[in-house]
């Protein structure tokens, strides 16, 4: 089947045109695919991981997990020597018991001091009674003074009468108008009245003295009452309070709780389902608080961290679906969803200069052609063997952007 020259010429031109046209069209479709469904082979499987560090220090007594083992949440992994922490808990409890004992003792002491206050109160009431009595005595003495004054006045009046009577009778004796006996009687009565007056005056002096004495007694009773009041106050002030001891209760309780916390944390439990990694110690190793012993990979959620050029990022929105291929299982087609795109990478030291203190470190050289910055995009893997992924596995990611024409 030989072709004529004309047919060959036409076929040659047709193939030439078709090849260039086909290359252009398929090339454009391929370009559209690359733009609308961003893809990268710079991707790795990633999971969050934590460094397992004990809360307490001590020698490791038991390790119940092995390197690379899968652990369930709550599974015991490590046991640190509990004894020192058990002793510390015992000591904290005994200190709390001692405090409670001191509080009981102090309550008794306070009760006795409160009784002293009652005694002082009774002293006040007794002093008040004594004062009332002294005041009554004073009133009585004042009445006695008034009575004595009246007695003196009466005795003086009677003496004046008797003296006047005698003085009237004596001149009459010379003319014999009265008898000697009458005069003598008048003289005797006058003398007696004089004596009675003197006696009444003595009684008055006595009553005055009694009043002075009663006043002094009243002042003394007053002073005693004042003293009793002061004693009550003194007793009240000397009563102790429980506050300093009661305030220590929360401190002692906290000490117990801290000791319990430390004791509980002698055992390390898996905080989530995960895989033990980088466990390179055996029993007897000394574990320091806060220092990582091994790493636990959180296998609950797996991501692919894929680096995309900044120009591709605007075609990638959170929530977009993604096709994921792991190079360990190239025929396994996994599905994912874009969780988030990265918002920061370390600036290029060659371009921006190193970030230092002091003055900016600006490079003198510059490139005509620059490379696009790339940002990590976090894509959550939705299916697949969640337990058997390996952190750092090579992956290829194709984002399902807008569907293309083909």
């Amino acid at each position: 089947m030989e072709l004529t020259a004309e047919t060959r010429r036409r076929l040659g031109r047709g193939i030439s045109a078709a090849a260039v046209l086909g290359a252009t069209i398929t090339g454009l479709f391929a370009l559209q695919q690359m733009v609308e469904n961003p893809r990268t082979d710079d991707a790795e499987v990633f999971a969050n991981f934590i460094g397992m560090a004990p809360v307490v220090s001590g020698p490791v007594m038991k390790i119940t997990v092995a390197d690379n083992q899968y652990v369930k949440q709550g599974q015991m992994m490590l046991d640190i020597d509990e004894r020192p922490y058990a002793y510390a808990l015992g000591q904290a409890r005994s200190e709390q018991a001692a405090l409670e004992g001191s509080i009981v003792d102090e309550q008794r002491r306070i009760a006795s001091e409160s009784s002293a206050v009652s005694v002082a109160d009774a002293g006040v009431r007794s002093a008040e009674a004594a004062l009332a009595h002294a005041q009554a005595v004073v009133a009585q003495a004042r009445a006695a003074v008034v009575g004595a004054q009246a007695s003196v006045d009466r005795a003086r009046a009677e003496r004046d009468y008797a003296v006047h009577n005698r003085d009237r009778l004596e001149p009459l004796l010379a003319k014999q108008f009265v008898t000697v006996d009458q005069v003598d009687r008048a003289r005797t009565v006058a003398a007696a009245r004089e004596q009675a007056l003197a006696e009444a005056r003595a009684q008055q002096t006595l009553a005055g003295a009694a009043l002075t004495s009663a006043l002094a007694a009243e002042a003394q009773a007053n002073a005693r009452l004042e003293q009793s009041h002061q004693q009550v106050q003194q007793a009240q002030h000397s009563v102790l309070t429980l506050e300093p001891l009661v305030a220590q209760r929360s401190g002692r309780l906290s000490a117990i709780q801290t000791a319990e916390y430390n004791l509980e944390n002698c055992r390390l439990y898996a905080p989530f389902d995960g895989r033990v990694t980088n466990l390179t110690i055996s029993e007897g190793a000394y574990a320091h608080a806060g220092q990582e012993i091994f790493t636990l990979i959180d296998t609950r959620t797996w991501w692919v961290l894929a680096n995309f050029r900044e120009t591709q990022l605007r075609h990638i929105q959170p929530g977009m679906k993604a096709d994921i291929y792991l190079m360990s299982h190239p025929n396994l087609h996994l599905h994912g969803v874009v969780d988030s795109t990265g918002f920061g990478v370390t600036p290029d030291a060659d371009l921006l200069g190193r970030l230092t203190k002091g003055l900016p470190d600006v490079q003198r050289t510059l490139n005509w052609v620059r490379l696009a910055s790339r940002y990590p995009v976090r894509i959550r893997i939705l299916d697949g063997p969640q337990q058997n992924f390996r952190l750092g596995e090579s992956a290829v990611v194709v984002i399902d952007g807008h569907p293309g024409l083909l």
Partner: protein, 101 residues
């Protein structure tokens, strides 16, 4: 038969060549259905699919040249320096779009 044809391409008839390419189509369709990662592991090195497509496109372009030569059309190709690379690009893009889109 196709296998033999591949080794003795110069002596193949045009129909045998056509049969060879037609025989490749189910294989290509199978590849598309296999849903393979767009990278290939060659002794621990991952080669991107587009690179292999490019290699395949270049090879297919060479095969096309041989076919055209057999038909005697190769002398009638206008600006072959553009057409054969275009053909290679076409094959590469077509393969890539078919298998790894």
């Amino acid at each position: 038969m196709n296998h033999a044809c591949f080794h003795n391409l110069r002596r193949c008839t045009r129909w045998q060549s056509l049969q060879y390419f037609l025989g490749m189509l189910p294989f290509a369709a199978c590849l598309a259905g296999c849903d393979h990662a767009p990278e290939f592991n060659i002794v621990g090195s991952y080669f991107p699919a587009w690179l292999l497509c490019m290699a395949a496109g270049t090879a297919l372009s060479g095969l096309s040249y041989l076919g055209l030569k057999r038909l005697g059309v190769d002398r009638e190709i206008v600006a072959s320096i553009v057409v054969y690379p275009s053909l290679a690009l076409f094959y590469a893009c077509a393969l890539w779009l078919l298998l790894f889109r």
